[in-house]
């Protein structure tokens, strides 16, 4: 079954571009992605641009209402995701724990809904 691993972090809390740690951090991501691919569990993965680039839209009275920024101003923001195909939750959690940002933020694991 497929699991979406949502990577949440506080922007600026994990290694930032230009710092010494950043290279190693990115390397960890590459290693992790390679591991997922090699084990045949990787469906898709992406990083998101910072939350400052977010726009939110709702339909009000049939018209789109557009706002600057994310829907909820929480401290932790969605920074990226992995869509993995695993045999069960335990396996998905095992992978999720290896996502480098898990050390600085948290990873929420959600099953993809299956319509019968």
């Amino acid at each position: 079954m497929q699991f979406l691993c949502l990577i949440y972090g506080t922007e600026g809390k994990d290694p930032q571009p230009g710092t010494e740690e950043f290279g190693a951090y990115m390397q960890e991501y590459e290693t992790f992605s390679a591991l997922c691919e090699q084990n045949g569990v990787l469906v898709n993965a992406n990083a998101l641009e910072p939350v400052a680039t977010a726009s939110t839209v709702t339909m009000e009275n049939g018209k789109p209402e557009i706002m600057d920024g994310p829907f909820a101003e929480t401290k932790e923001q969605l920074g990226g995701y992995y869509l993995l195909d695993c045999k069960d939750l335990d396996e998905a959690l095992e992978y999720a724990a290896k996502i480098p940002t898990a050390k600085y933020g948290r990873v929420e694991v959600r099953p993809i809904m299956v319509f019968e």
Binding site: M1, F3, C86, K87, D88, L89, D90, A92, L93, P111, E116
Partner: protein, 420 residues
Amino acid sequence: MLPPYSLEQTIEQIVKEEWGRILSCIVKNVGDIQFAEDCLQDAVEAALKNWPEKGIPKSPAAWLISVSHRKAIDRVRRSKNFKSKEADLSYLSQLEQMDFGDETDQDIPDERLRLIFTCCHPALEEKTRIALTLRTIGGLKTEEIAKAFLDTPSTMAQRIVRAKKKIKLAGISYIVPDGEMLQERLKGVLAVIYLIFNEGYSASNSHQLTRVDLIEEAIRLARILMNLMPKEPEVLGLYALMILHDARRFARIDKQGEMVALEFQNRRLWDRAKIEEGNRVVKQALAMQQVGPYQLQACISAVHLNAVSWDVTDWPQITALYALLYQIQPTHVVRINHIMAVSYADSVAVALQLLDELQLEQNMSCNVSFLLLKADLFERNDQLGESLKLLERAIDLTDNEIEKRFIKRKLQGKSSYASR
């Protein structure tokens, strides 16, 4: 003599006793806890109709499993999206072929470990794990569990239904974890059982007789687990620990319903049979040479219970056990207990010094156990004024009624002593 059970009560008893074994087996076959439970419920209704006429079958569990499988087929046939369930149906029909009807209890595969590990999965909230374990393995009714946790039946029912749904949708597998994960998850299972026990233990303090006997239930669950995992020393350790605690049940509370400290308990009220059993199991566990926190706590309890009086307690032994426990479980509670043991094994002065060291490392002035021990040490050191001050502080800090009364009685005892 006990009044004879009615047939209905007997059936209910059998169902409760066998519930976990039957349910775990059906879940294995149908794959979903809620669905399995609904089918089992149907089967129980059938039993209530059928057994009074035809008598209780040779193996009630086998009978209930067979009928549950049949009920599962009925339910799938009746379901709206019957078409998409054809695969399920052919599988279930196969199950119907392997009728358990004539078989004995021994032929039923025991799947309870899978069920326990599933119910105690860390992806479920702690209270949910407890409720689900009591419901599915213990066979307690939702209303009984609600009562035990002072929840309304509907709240508890919702919690349990949501949990079963999560297990299904979140992809929690119906397995016993292996390798490294087994030990980690086993700790979680043991914690759930011990929480049930402690819930019962504190309930007996407050004399809530309407509560289900959670102590009995926890011991029963541990016994089941011990039979399923006889080579896991911590499982044995937990069982021994609970049996040994429970051995003091009738000495812990006096006639007025007040808590009695171990020091002042009437040791003749301790249950010898339980102590023997606890001793035996803890020895068995220690022989496996893989010590753990439950075994150590059981050992400490055993040392206390095997002493004929408080004064002849083997304090050096208890001190050593607490020191070991602290290495595995470095908590304040363990450290304070260790210092308490030191005060008897060594001296009050040494213990006071250790308390000061602890205070230097971390501010303990709001920790009730710390204050109570310090008060006790001061009293034994003839510093009654200091002792009184600490007790008064402690009483302000606790909001546990029983503990409050307990300290109050201590205070009353002391102030009259001081004025004498």
